[in-house]
C-alpha cells in the first residue's frame, strides 16, 4: 500500500535513466519512454486519490527509513489532503507537458531527461516530511529548472535562468539557517528534523540574539522561512524574477513553473511556516494580507500594460497567487480552503493559458499582442482558428473567474474567508478581479477579434495531439467549476486541522 507513493516519487527517476540509456538518434523512443513514464505516474496518482482516506488529517502512505542517523535525518514521506491535490496536479501537468513538448528538436534527450528529473523533485518537495529531505528536494529542483530555462529558453534565457536560480537560492539559504536553528531549538532529538513533530507552536517562548539584539525566535525564523517561500510564490516585492523566467522559458517549463512550482511557495506556508510558527504567523497576517493585496492589484495592472501575451499571463500569475496569499492570511476555514482550491485551479487554468500561447507561438514565432513597431501582432484569430478560439475562451474565462468555471469558486471562497478578518482589503481586492477581467478581455479583443491580420492567414488550426492534451484541462476547469466537492472533500480534514491550530493564537 505505502509503496504507491514511493513509486510515484521514483518512477520519473527510472524513466530518466531510461531516457539517458536510449541512444541519442532514437528520438521517438525517447519521447515514448517519457510519455509512458508520465502516464503511469498519472495513473498511479489517480489510484492514490481513490485509495486516499478523506476522513483523517493524518499523513497517509507514510514511509520512514533512517538516512543519516547522526543527525536524525530520515527518508520520511507521506501525504495529506493538501499534498494529494498537488501530487495529482503535478502528475497531470507533466503528462500534458510531455505531449506538448513533442515538437522539441534541440537536444531532445537531455530535455526529456531533465523534465523527468524535475517531476521527481517536485513530487519530493510535496511528499517530504523530513525537513532536511525537504530542503534537498527544494534545492535540487533548481538544477533541472536552471538548465531547462537556460538551454531551451528564448533569446534572453541566460539572464532569466541565473536570475531565477539566484533569487530562489537567496530565499532558501535563509530557510536553511532556519531549519538548522529549529533542529537545535528542538533539542536535536529524533524528531528534530520531523516537520510534523515541529508543528504546533513549540517555540513561542524561545529567544535568539542576533548582532547583539534579542528577538523572539518565532518571529525571526518565521520571517526567514517567509523569505524562502515568498520568493517562490512570488509575493510582491519578490516577484521580479517571475516575468523573466516565464517569458524566456519554453512552453512546457512555463506550464510547470506556473502550474506547480509557484504552489511550492504557498505549500511551504501551509505545511511549514504557519504550523511551526503559529504565533508569528497570526501576528504577521496583516502584513501577509497587505502584500497579497499589492500582488493582486499590482500584478493585474502590470499585466494590463504588457504587449507580450506570455508576459501578460506571467503577471496574471502574480495577481492570482496574490489571492492565494489573501486566503492564507485570512486563516479561516473558508479562506484556507479557498486558497488551497485556488492553488489547484490556478494550476489548471494558467497551464491552459501557457499551453495555448505555446501552440500559437509554434505558428507565429512571436508573442506580441502589439509589436514593438506598433503594428498588430495578431487579429481576427477567432475567424481563422475556431478550435483554438474555443479552447482559449474556456481557459481565459476560468482564469478570469467566470461563475461556472473553476476560478470563480476558489476566489469566492477566499473572499468569504477574508471578509471576516480584513474588510477594507477585501473591498480593494475585488477591484483586482475587475482589472483581471479587463486585461484578459482586452487582450482577447486585440488578438481574436477585429480585422484578420494577413500574417495569420497561413496558420493551421490545432491538430489532434494539441486538442487531445488540452481536453483534460478543459474538463478539469469546467467540472471543478460546477462540482468542486471532490477537491474540497480531500483537503477538508487537513485544512481544518491547520485552521484549528491557528485559531488558538
Amino acid at each position: 500500500m505505502n509503496g504507491i507513493l514511493n513509486w510515484i516519487l521514483w518512477l520519473p527517476v527510472i524513466g530518466m535513466v531510461g531516457v539517458i540509456l536510449t541512444p541519442k538518434a532514437k528520438e521517438h523512443t525517447i519521447k515514448m519512454v517519457t510519455l509512458v513514464t508520465t502516464s503511469i505516474t498519472l495513473l498511479l496518482s489517480v489510484l492514490l486519490y481513490l485509495k486516499f482516506d478523506t476522513t483523517t488529517a493524518d499523513m497517509q502512505f507514510v514511509t520512514k527509513i533512517p538516512w543519516i542517523s547522526q543527525f536524525h535525518i530520515n527518508y520520511f514521506i507521506g501525504i495529506d489532503g493538501i499534498t494529494m491535490l498537488m501530487a495529482f496536479l503535478n502528475a497531470l501537468l507533466f503528462f500534458i507537458c510531455t505531449l506538448s513538448s513533442w515538437t522539441v528538436t534541440k537536444n531532445l534527450k537531455a530535455y526529456f531527461a531533465l523534465l523527468l528529473m524535475l517531476q521527481s523533485t517536485v513530487f519530493g518537495v510535496f511528499f517530504a516530511l523530513d525537513f532536511f529531505l525537504f530542503y534537498v528536494y527544494w534545492e535540487v529542483m533548481l538544477l533541472p529548472m536552471f538548465f531547462l530555462i537556460g538551454i531551451w529558453g528564448g533569446e534572453n534565457r541566460e539572464y532569466a535562468a541565473i536570475k531565477f536560480f539566484l533569487y530562489t537560492f537567496f530565499g532558501s539559504i535563509f530557510m536553511l539557517v532556519g531549519i538548522i536553528a529549529l533542529y537545535y531549538a528542538s533539542g536535536k532529538g529524533v524528531d528534530s528534523f520531523n516537520i510534523l513533530a515541529l508543528q504546533g507552536g513549540k517555540f513561542v517562548n524561545e529567544q535568539v540574539v542576533i548582532f547583539g539584539k534579542t528577538f523572539s525566535f518565532e518571529t525571526i525564523f518565521f520571517w526567514f522561512m517567509f523569505l524562502g517561500f515568498a520568493i517562490k510564490v512570488p509575493v510582491f516585492p519578490f516577484h521580479t524574477w517571475l516575468p523573466h523566467a516565464h517569458v524566456q522559458a519554453p512552453t512546457a517549463v512555463s506550464v510547470i513553473l506556473a502550474g506547480v512550482l509557484l504552489k511550492m511557495g504557498t505549500y511551504g506556508f501551509l505545511r511549514i511556516a504557519f504550523p511551526i510558527f503559529p504565533q508569528a504567523a497570526v501576528n504577521a497576517s496583516t502584513i501577509i494580507a497587505v502584500l497579497g493585496l499589492i500582488s493582486v492589484i499590482y500584478g493585474a495592472f502590470c499585466a494590463m500594460a504588457q504587449d507580450d501575451v506570455k508576459k501578460l499571463v506571467a503577471y496574471s500569475s502574480v495577481s492570482h497567487m496574490g489571492f492565494v496569499m489573501l486566503g492564507l492570511a485570512a486563516m479561516t476555514t473558508q479562506g484556507m480552503n479557498g486558497a488551497v482550491l485556488q492553488m489547484f485551479n490556478h494550476g489548471t487554468s494558467t497551464a491552459m493559458m501557457f499551453l495555448m500561447i505555446g501552440v500559437l507561438y509554434e505558428r507565429s514565432h512571436h508573442r506580441w499582442i502589439v509589436k514593438p513597431d506598433g503594428s498588430k501582432g495578431y487579429g481576427g484569430l477567432a475567424t481563422k482558428l475556431p478550435k483554438y478560439t474555443t479552447i482559449f475562451i474556456i481557459g481565459m474565462f476560468a482564469s478570469l473567474g467566470l461563475p461556472g468555471l473553476s476560478g470563480f469558486i476558489s476566489e469566492a471562497l477566499i473572499f468569504l474567508g477574508i471578509y471576516q478578518k480584513f474588510t477594507t482589503i477585501t473591498v480593494i481586492a475585488v477591484v483586482g478581479l475587475l482589472i483581471g477581467a479587463a486585461y484578459l478581455l482586452w487582450m482577447f479583443k486585440r488578438m481574436f477579434f477585429g480585422e484578420v491580420n494577413p500574417e495569420i492567414e497561413e496558420y493551421e488550426d490545432m491538430n489532434a495531439r494539441e486538442v487531445f492534451y488540452m481536453i483534460p484541462l478543459c474538463i478539469a476547469v469546467i467540472v471543478f467549476g460546477i462540482f468542486p466537492s471532490p477537491l474540497l472533500n480531500v483537503m477538508k480534514a487537513s485544512v481544518g486541522q491547520l485552521v484549528d491550530l491557528l485559531s488558538k493564537y
Binding site: Y135, V140, I162, V177
Partner: protein
C-alpha cells in the same frame, strides 16, 4: 635509546617513506638521459609510493594518539586524517602535472620532488606538538613552495609569483617567530602540553602578552591558509604558478595550515582560558572578512584560475568557522569540508589545466560550449561548480550544512547570516562559469577536446566521492568524528 627511537619510528612510517621517496626521486631524475622525455616512470613510481603512504596512514587512523620525539610530534587520528587528505591531494597534483603542458618535461620530476617535500612539511605541521616543530613544519612547507611557484622559469609572472610568495612568507614566518619567542618568555616552555595547563591561570601582563603573541603566532598560519588580511599574495601566486602547482597550493598547504590552526586554537582556548572571548571574536571577524573579500573579488575575475583562487579564500573563511565553536563537532565539520574540498578542487583544476593546455588561455571563453564538445566532462565540471556553491545533492552542500550546523548550534546567528549571503554571491560566479559551459555556443573552429581515457577515468573516480558523499555521508562523518575526538 635505540629501541625507543625505533619504537617512535613505527608511528612515523608514512613520513619516513615520504622522505625516502623524495631522496630516491632526486637520484632517479639524474638518471634520465633525454631531458624532453615524458617522465612516466618517475610519475608511476611517485604514485605507487604515495599509495603505500596512504595505506600506512589508513592503518594509523584507528590507533590511539601518541606523542613521540620527546613530545615534539603528536600522531593522532586528527593529524592522520589531515595527512590522508594531503596525500591524496599530492597524488592528484602529480597526476595533473603528468599531462600538463604548463610545466616543461625536464621540470616534471622536480615538481614531484618538491611536492613530496611540501607534503613532508605539511605532515610535520599537522602533527606539530611544540612551537619549534610548528615553525620547522611551516618553513619546510614554505621554502619549497616558493620554488614551486616559479617553476615556469622563463615566465615573468611565475617569477613574480615566487618572489611575492617568498617575501610575504618570509615576513609572516618572522612575525610568527617573534610571537613564539614571547610565548616562550611567558610560559617558559615551547611544548604545547605545558602551555595547555598554564593558559587557564593567566593574569595581568602575562595575559596581555599572551594575547598579542598568540595573534602574532596566528599570522604565520593565517598567511598559509590565506585568510584576510593575509590573502593578498594568493591570486598573484595562484595565477603565476603553473596549474598543477596552483591545484597543489589549493590543497596541501591549506590543509596543513588548517590543521595547525585547529591545534593551536585548542591549546590557547583550553578550558577556562581568558583568551577565549578575544580569540573567538578575532576569528569571527577574520572569517566574515575572508569570506566576503574572497567571494566579492571572485565575481569580477576573467581568468578561471584567479576565480578559483579567490573562491578558495571564500571557502577557507567558511572552514575556519569550525574553529570558532571550539568543540569536536566543529573539528568534524572542518575535516569533512577539507575532504570534500580536496576532491572538488582537484577536479576543477584538472579540467581547467586541460583546457588551458588546449587553448593556451584560462579565460572563461575556453569553457564556452564545452557541453557540446565533451558532454561528460562538462557535466562533471558543472557538478563540481554546483558542489562548490553548496547545492544538493553534491557533497559541497553537506560540508556547508555541517559548518552552518555547528555555528548555529553555538548560536552565532550573525555569522550564519553573513555566510548565507556569501553563499549567494559564490553561487553567482560559479554559475557564470557553468552558464558559459552549458548555455554558450562554441565560437570559432570546433576542436574536439581530447581527454584521454585515463584522464577521464581519473576525473570520474574523483567525482564519485563528490556525488556519493553528498547523499551517503554518514560513514565519512563517523570517520571525521572519530578523528575529532582526540584533538584535545
Amino acid at each position: 635509546m635505540i629501541d625507543q627511537l625505533f619504537g617512535f619510528l613505527s608511528f612515523y612510517i608514512p613520513e619516513v617513506i615520504s622522505i625516502l621517496l623524495m631522496t630516491t626521486l632526486l637520484v632517479a631524475e639524474s638518471s634520465v638521459k633525454d631531458e624532453h622525455a615524458p617522465r612516466t616512470k618517475i610519475h608511476v613510481y611517485t604514485q605507487v609510493v604515495l599509495g603505500i603512504v596512504l595505506i600506512t596512514l589508513f592503518q594509523n587512523l584507528g590507533e590511539k594518539p601518541v606523542q613521540i620525539f620527546h613530545n615534539a610530534v603528536t600522531i593522532d587520528p586528527f593529524s592522520t586524517l589531515m595527512k590522508i587528505i594531503m596525500v591524496i591531494g599530492t597524488m592528484g597534483a602529480v597526476f595533473i602535472s603528468h599531462s600538463s603542458k604548463d610545466i616543461y618535461s625536464n621540470l616534471k620530476s622536480e615538481f614531484s620532488i618538491m611536492a613530496v617535500g611540501v607534503l613532508i612539511g605539511g605532515m610535520l605541521l599537522a602533527s606539530a606538538n611544540n612551537m619549534l616543530t610548528f615553525y620547522l613544519g611551516i618553513e619546510t612547507l614554505s621554502i619549497l613552495s616558493y620554488v614551486m611557484s616559479s617553476l615556469k622559469r622563463e615566465d615573468a609572472s611565475s617569477t613574480e609569483a615566487g618572489m611575492k610568495y617568498a617575501l610575504y612568507g618570509g615576513l609572516s614566518a618572522g612575525i610568527a617567530l617573534f610571537g613564539i619567542s614571547h610565548l616562550y618568555g611567558v610560559f617558559g616552555s615551547i611544548q604545547f602540553n605545558d602551555i595547555v595547563g598554564q593558559v587557564a591561570g593567566l593574569q595581568g601582563t602575562d595575559l596581555a602578552i599572551t594575547l598579542v603573541a598568540s595573534v602574532l603566532f596566528f599570522v604565520g598560519v593565517g598567511y598559509k591558509i590565506s585568510v584576510f588580511p593575509f590573502h593578498m599574495w594568493t591570486p598573484d601566486v595562484y595565477q603565476g604558478s603553473p596549474i598543477p602547482v596552483t591545484a597543489f597550493f589549493g590543497i596541501v598547504p591549506k590543509m596543513a595550515g588548517l590543521a595547525a590552526l585547529v591545534r593551536i586554537s585548542f591549546v590557547f582556548l583550553s578550558a577556562g582560558s581568558a583568551l577565549t572571548v578575544s580569540w573567538v571574536g578575532l576569528i569571527l571577524v577574520i572569517a566574515a572578512m575572508t569570506m566576503t573579500v574572497g567571494n566579492v573579488t571572485a565575481i569580477g575575475q576573467s581568468s578561471v584560475k584567479r576565480m578559483l583562487a579567490f573562491s578558495s579564500i571564500g571557502h577557507v573563511g567558511l572552514m575556519i568557522l569550525g574553529v570558532v565553536v571550539m568543540n569536536e563537532a566543529g573539528v568534524k565539520a572542518i575535516l569533512f569540508y577539507g575532504l570534500v574540498y580536496m576532491f572538488m578542487t582537484l577536479i576543477a583544476f584538472y579540467i581547467t589545466s586541460h583546457l588551458s593546455d588546449m587553448y593556451g588561455s584560462d579565460s572563461y571563453d575556453v569553457f564556452r560550449g564545452l557541453v557540446y564538445k565533451h558532454p561528460v566532462m562538462a557535466i562533471i565540471m558543472a557538478g563540481v561548480l554546483f558542489s562548490l556553491a553548496g547545492i544538493p545533492p553534491f557533497s559541497g552542500f553537506v560540508a556547508k550544512f555541517n559548518i552552518f550546523a555547528v555555528v548555529i548550534e553555538q548560536k552565532h546567528y550573525g555569522i550564519a547570516i553573513v555566510a548565507a549571503i556569501n553563499s549567494v554571491i559564490a553561487l553567482y560566479y560559479y554559475m557564470k562559469l557553468a552558464k558559459t559551459m552549458i548555455f554558450g555556443q562554441a565560437s570559432g573552429e570546433e576542436k574536439v577536446v581530447g581527454f584521454t581515457s585515463l584522464n577521464q577515468a581519473v576525473i570520474i573516480a574523483l567525482f564519485i566521492p563528490v556525488l556519493f558523499l553528498g547523499i551517503f555521508w554518514e560513514s565519512a562523518m563517523t570517520m571525521a568524528g572519530n578523528a575529532a575526538i582526540f584533538i584535545k
